[in-house]
Amino acid sequence: MTELTDLGVAAIRDGVQDGAFSAREVAEAFVAKVSAAKQLNAFLVETPDHAFAAADAADKARAAGEAAKPLAGVPIGMKDLFCTKGVPSTAASHILEGFTPPYESTVSQKLWDAGAGMLGKLNMDQFAMGSSNETSAFGNVISPWRRSDGGNAPLAPGGSSGGSSAAIAARLCPAATGTDTGGSIRQPAAFTGIAGIKPTYGRCSRFGIVAFASSLDQAGPMARDVRDCAIMLEAMAGFDARDATSLELDVPRWEAGLSSDLKGKRIGIPKEYRVENMPSEIDALWQRGIDWARDAGAEIVEVSLPHTKYALPAYYIIAPAEASSNLARYDGVRYGLRDLPDGANLQDMYAATRAAGFGDEVKRRIMIGTYVLSAGYYDAYFTQASKVRTLIARDFDAAWESCDLLLTPTAPSAAFALGEKSADPIAMYLNDVFTVPSSLAGLPAMSVPAGLDGHGLPLGLQVIGKALDEQGVLNAGLALEQRAGFAARPEAWW
């Protein structure tokens, strides 16, 4: 028999329901894996009791003949950006060290209501700012993957949801939550050979998620395959009156609607995504993806998204601007870290607390954001970036005239080594080049594992859909997934 920890969400759900194994057995198996994988540093907090309680409830309900909840018996990982009641929630920042919320985020609550249990809180880039997990205040996550050339250089699991991606790839949990502001679900998914979807902005409530950039932040699931993502997303999505940007729409039955038949679908290939210096392997993978899509019945069309090159600069104005304001609440007054030097006044306390509490990347973005919003620069930066954002959205609208979905690489490279880019913020920011435009436009987009590079590292393909067409995105993802037949997994060294 395969190990229980090799099973995905659907298999665990079905197995528990059929009585092939108990939820308790599943939880115990994953809890053991988690506690044995400390080297990866994927979990900031382990919560076995939470997982066991949910498992026992699932087993009890089954024994009592009650209808199974959609995620009954499925233990998951929770990105530490989600506030979880009674469990420390830090956004991987020193400034929130020791903070235990007396409330639950809407998304995590929905998952618990669906029967899922929590294995622990997952490490991440501090305040979700980063693409490598190196900005965590509690040490970076190490990817379970290693290059096949025998080099043992520790690799980045991607970011910001790098704890989530590493944990799933290492089979520490079958699925996890992520959040995506400019690619923070999709890029780590691509780096670690798993699937992840960022739904349409507004699908998942932001209530209780520590804010990075409010107009871009979206929660989404990360899992081993497309079906598991669909199951998770169904549980996570839905209108929430406590988030004014939440969409008041019913949640589609995405899992039931899955189909890898792409007949009648037109898939656009945006020519602006053929960026300079892109590794030929990425290009080749993209071409394979195009062939698979055609094989699945789709018609391939070349499209243009002319403002693509302005997306990254606009994103790195808008996201820091919002962050500089969103992070003002971490001031040492009410919760979290307070640094009060002797004789300090209020201003001194702010300065000392924030200097000690925020990491360098967070400080960098607060400063950029403060600058672009300041009098005299606002129009040149923030207003201009907002206009670019509108143009980017229009690019997509125009593209939808000739296609239904877009297919692109997820990231311009495979996972890089830890430390390789951390000294060069711009090189790091370039990692988001393919994921940022759809974030700015609020569109659903997902990454599916599609192959390995020459070093044996996973590469991902991205599908971008029209607003609210998660089903189309998932279906195309499924078609690619089936044809890619991605079966590689990192060999355990931890």
Binding site: S215, A328, F382
Partner: protein, 484 residues
């Protein structure tokens, strides 16, 4: 019309005044959270997770607060913007948990409007209102709880305010006072703010500049958080005179924020323009633009009560004197009471005189507001009816009213039980007159000899003999006849 002028050494100066009035919106819940807004609660007992800016908490607009601001805008004939947006005003302070105030800089909810003020010298003047926007209030720092630390009370944090920004259209402290009073009256009619300045429900930032009459606007200063009509007027007077002194001494006015000290009646500098915060306003990304549909606006309009100016005109149309009409409409409670009185059948002119003299006199004596009047409008209408149908004379009515104030009884009951009904029974009156004349034969002779003034004596004696219950008019007629 007499212009208000400051007499300086170099001649006359004109004062230019604009007011930004912050009015707390009447609502059970805060602007973006469900927390209560009741005044006077224990510190930090009316604070939601949103108000305390806990991580991941989000603002959700309170429909009622928006509705009240829209109704207020409609009450001053202002343009209502069907599309508006919330902006963040960023600054750090311990009473501001989010590190920003959610306000509306770029696209306010309410645009241009105006209101008319009554001038002391008679007539009215129209004062322009530039805009009304809604925003969050901050919390409160308490410095008196501990020798070395300050405490924060977040009960007010997130409470909805309307900021009502006037045009610089006022030219004297009196006009500014009249503007605040009129605005307060309108807010209270509309029910969008209780206008309670002592509790901080309404406060004003006062912009003042001076110039030689006819010259361009001078540099203005802004005096923050002035919380009574009297203080507004005092602050303007002091600030205008200060500016004149500075200018005439060869100095210049710096654009700055000043504080008003009610104890000394003076203002002092708080911070200059150079120290002013860069608030880094930008659209709040947690909130979608506010879009108002016609049904919502229709409901807002339909729910507006008759407003002070319209009511005043209506009262004058009923024959009520302009003075009485003004007095009766200034406060919404008075107007509401008076309308109920009219509805209960009282005759407008008689009723207005009675309210303005008798009722106000009595309430003053008792130290009560009209809403606490021991006599209800329907009881008052009954009393006035008894006067109108000659059941009671004026003086009897006063007696009955006093008893009503004490007992709360209906006038008919009092009249019945105490026999205070006036009599027009000519037989009974004639009998008493005959007795009075018999007892005062000398005075009858004097009267008939030409001493007309004695007529009053006979009236008095007759009324006295009848314990005040005789109809004075009948007494007059019968006496004239009897005395010949």
């Amino acid at each position: 019309m007499v212009d208000y002028r400051i007499q300086g050494a170099t001649g006359e100066w004109e004062v230019v005044i604009g007011l930004e009035v912050h009015a707390q919106v009447t609502s059970n819940a805060k602007l973006f959270s469900g927390a209560s807004t009741a005044f006077g609660a224990e510190p930090n007992t009316q604070v939601s997770l949103v108000d305390a800016a806990m991580p991941g908490m989000l603002p959700v607009p309170n429909r009622e607060c928006i509705r009240q601001a829209v109704r207020t805008g409609m009450a001053i004939d202002a343009a209502i913007n069907k599309w508006s947006r919330f902006d963040r005003k960023n600054y750090f302070y311990a009473d501001l948990p989010q590190g920003y105030q959610i306000s509306q800089l770029y696209h306010p909810l309410v645009g241009e409007g105006s209101l008319d003020i009554e001038l002391d010298e008679g007539g009215t003047k129209t004062i322009g209102v530039e805009r009304i926007h809604v925003e969050q209030d901050a919390g409160k720092l308490m410095h008196d709880q501990h020798p070395t630390r300050s405490y924060v009370d977040l009960n007010r944090s997130g409470v909805a305010l309307m900021e009502i920004v006037s045009r610089p259209d006022m030219r004297s402290p009196a006009e500014a006072g009249a503007y605040v009073r009129k605005l307060r009256s309108i807010l209270r009619y509309v029910g969008s703010c209780d206008g309670n300045m002592e509790e901080g429900s309404m406060r004003a930032d006062v912009n003042v500049s001076v110039r030689k009459p006819g010259a361009p606007f001078g540099t203005r200063t802004e005096t923050k958080n002035v919380n009574s009509v009297r203080f507004v007027m005092q602050a303007i007077e002091h600030e205008a005179n200060r500016q004149v002194d500075v200018l005439e001494a060869g100095g210049t006015i710096v654009q700055e924020t000043r504080l008003y000290d009610p104890d000394s009646g003076t203002t002092r500098s708080m911070r200059s323009k150079e120290d002013a915060h860069d608030y880094r306003y930008f659209p709040d990304p947690d909130l979608l633009p506010l879009e108002l549909d016609d049904a919502f606006l229709d409901e807002c309009r339909a729910s507006l009560p008759e407003l002070p100016d319209a009511k005043r005109a209506r009262y004058e149309g009923l024959g009520i004197t302009p003075y009485n009409a003004g007095v009766l409409t200034a406060e919404v409670e008075t107007a509401r009471w008076f309308d109920a009185l009219l509805e209960a059948g009282a005759k407008p002119v008689q009723a207005s005189n009675w309210v303005a003299s008798e009722l106000f006199g009595a309430l003053n004596r008792l130290g009560k507001g009209i809403e606490e009047s021991p006599v209800s409008p329907s009881q008052a209408a009954e009393l006035l009816g008894l006067v109108a149908d000659d059941t009671l004379s004026g003086s009897l009515a006063k007696q009955v009213f006093e008893i009503m104030l004490e007992t709360g009884d209906d006038p008919a009951k009092i009249v019945e039980e105490r026999g205070l009904k006036q009599t027009s029974d000519t037989g009974a009156i004639e009998k008493v007159i005959a007795e009075v004349m018999a007892a005062n034969e000398d005075k009858v002779a004097d009267y008939r000899g030409g001493k007309d003034k004695l007529f009053g004596f006979f009236v008095g004696q007759t009324m006295k003999a009848m314990a005040g219950k005789a109809n004075p008019q009948v007494v007059n007629e019968l006496l004239k006849k009897a005395l010949g």
